[in-house]
Symmetry: C2
Subunit: 358 residues, 2 copies
């Protein structure tokens, strides 16, 4: 089998070839005396398709054409090519840059960007045109990923890391997680929780032993690195992934973006979505069954729940029932609210009952 290192080396070579290809194509056009043009797949909502087989959004087949024959498009093509050249150097020197750094680097270019927004868009154009993720091109998100605690051994460069021996806050998923190899593990599943409060509760109550599980602390909306990590443990290690969030529309959607990707990132959902991950968080049924301390739904919660009910990612019976029930009772609850029954309750009673019901 191909090692992670070889696989990533291949991906880097593919990225370099695609980046070079973008430039050679323009040179070829010039040599052939035709006006150079680049085809950029459209990321507009009209080109967003929910793929029911893959269970996430993908891009349709519309695209725009950027031509050097169009004065308005000349600068954009120049920026794209200059950025591609910068990315090629990044990959060759085995470095990465944040999109913020890239923006400042461009201050030294003849075709610099007006603002960060402009530079981000060209970055996305490059992703979608080459069909590669930003990370493949060496452009990293600023933020770190989730915390991981439990019996998983990883290898990053020459360093072996034991996620059960990295301190109480566990191993932090870095933006370069694609380069990290999974060496060994001794778990049956992965349980991701929304807050670090719940993460620390699970570590303290030894949930990793009790459920033979990795514990993942998402810290709210999951970073791209976290989503790539969860996809890999699910697909490479064949571990079931459960997402245990708060019982409100925001908790639901944090889980759903992990499961079924986001609309905004349709062009890279194939690298980010984990369609087999399951929501195991607080539901409206749980609020009733466990008589949890609640907060009333705010207007914005109600609005959001109604949006979710119409979203194709929530079309199955489970979600339709639970969203309706939550709107009916008009209440939401945080996972930490189980502390009403004592700090241990969530690990000793609630999780076992939920896992049994799966």
């Amino acid at each position: 089998m191909q090692s992670r290192k070889e696989m990533m080396q291949n991906r880097r070579e593919i990225a370099i070839n695609k980046l070079k290809g973008l430039g050679s194509q323009i040179i070829e056009d010039v040599n052939k005396n035709t006006v150079p043009a680049v085809r950029v797949p459209s990321r507009g909502t009209s080109n967003l398709v929910y793929d029911t087989d893959r269970r996430y959004y993908v891009l349709g087949d519309r695209y725009g054409k950027r031509s050097l024959g169009n004065v308005k498009q000349v600068k954009k093509i120049a920026q794209m090519v200059t950025m591609a050249n910068f990315c090629k150097d990044l990959i060759r020197t085995n470095k990465t840059a944040t999109i913020r750094e890239l923006y400042y680097v461009s201050e030294g270019w003849d075709v610099d960007f007006g603002d960060q927004q402009e530079s981000n868009i060209i970055g996305e154009d490059l992703e979608v045109t080459l069909g590669m993720t930003r990370e493949d091109l060496g452009l990293m998100p600023e933020e770190d990923g989730a915390s991981v605690y439990g019996n998983l051994i990883l290898k990053d460069d020459d360093v072996e890391i034991n996620a059960a021996k990295s301190g109480k806050s566990g191993y932090t998923i870095s933006p370069t997680i694609d380069d990290v190899e999974f060496i060994d593990h001794d778990v049956q599943r992965v349980i991701a929780v929304e807050t670090m409060g719940m993460f620390h509760r699970m570590v303290q109550e030894k949930a990793y032993k009790k459920f033979d599980t990795l514990i993942v602390g998402l810290k709210g909306q999951a970073a791209r690195a976290t989503r790539r990590f969860l996809k890999r443990v699910n697909e490479e290690l064949n571990l079931p992934v459960y997402i245990c969030n708060d019982g409100d529309p925001w908790g639901f959607h944090i889980a759903m973006v992990i499961i079924s990707g986001s609309a905004k990132l349709a062009h890279v959902n194939h690298d980010l979505a984990t369609p087999d991950a399951k929501f195991l968080g607080v539901t409206a049924s749980d609020i009733i069954k466990y008589d949890l301390p609640t907060d009333p739904l705010k207007d914005i919660d109600v609005l959001r729940l109604k949006e979710l009910a119409k979203d194709p990612r929530y079309k199955n019976e489970f979600w339709q029932t639970e969203i309706k029930k939550m709107l009916k009772i008009g209440k939401k609850a945080e996972q930490q609210s189980f502390s009403k029954y004592g700090l241990e309750y969530v690990v000793e009673t609630y999780f076992p009952e939920k896992l049994d019901a799966m």
Copy 2:
């Protein structure tokens, strides 16, 4: 010398004794037929004193009295005593709880809180009355601390952690950092940076080797655990601490709260402030000297800079000059803006020049 474990054991015993003392005092009063009362030091602004010797805010000697003879105060005393009892159990069982969990736990009490705000205030009353930090009482902040990369060996329970071998995102400071022992290190200093983007830049450019330094990624406003960590490396390991933030009033103040504590937490600044830490971040002078890409100061930046100029923590010549200069040029700059001169510039040129100038 006393080991960290013994020291923490002592602190736990002191905490338990103080918590018990709160209850016994009330029982004694009852036995003596006097109306029980608790003295709670005042945390109001009129009782805030900037201590020029210690170089941080402390509380003055005003206090309020809560008496069981006052109907309005009965519930508050009952809540305080019930919370004290809960904390005693936490410490005894070697557990911790977040203040969010504590709030939900209180739903099971006869004297539950109306909302989280109410429960937080009683928690602070308890801290200030007993003269101990919230962490001493087992009540942890929700959020994790900074990321640490470099040659530092720590011990957490029986696990040894090497902060140079914990992955690209380093070791994460956990809320229970007080229990963690420093075993060994091979560094000359500590450089803390505001963003994880800069943290990863420094790791990639091997700044830990170049400057024999620990790299600390603050992730914005420093968590309490981060501040306790920086204080300990400074005082226990005698390492100079440099804080390298963005050149704007928010970057300045993130550094200042690490150095000189916050006004809101005057009652625990003795456990949080690191008065010998130095600001090594982007200044108005740097913006001019390095001709950095800038953003214009917004109204809110100008307002904040004027506030800082009047704050006793900023009264020295360095700050007064730099604040005035920034107001004069009307510009601010992020640390990542050095990328204008290439990704390596910040580590190869800027930091060495700044460290030399210290």
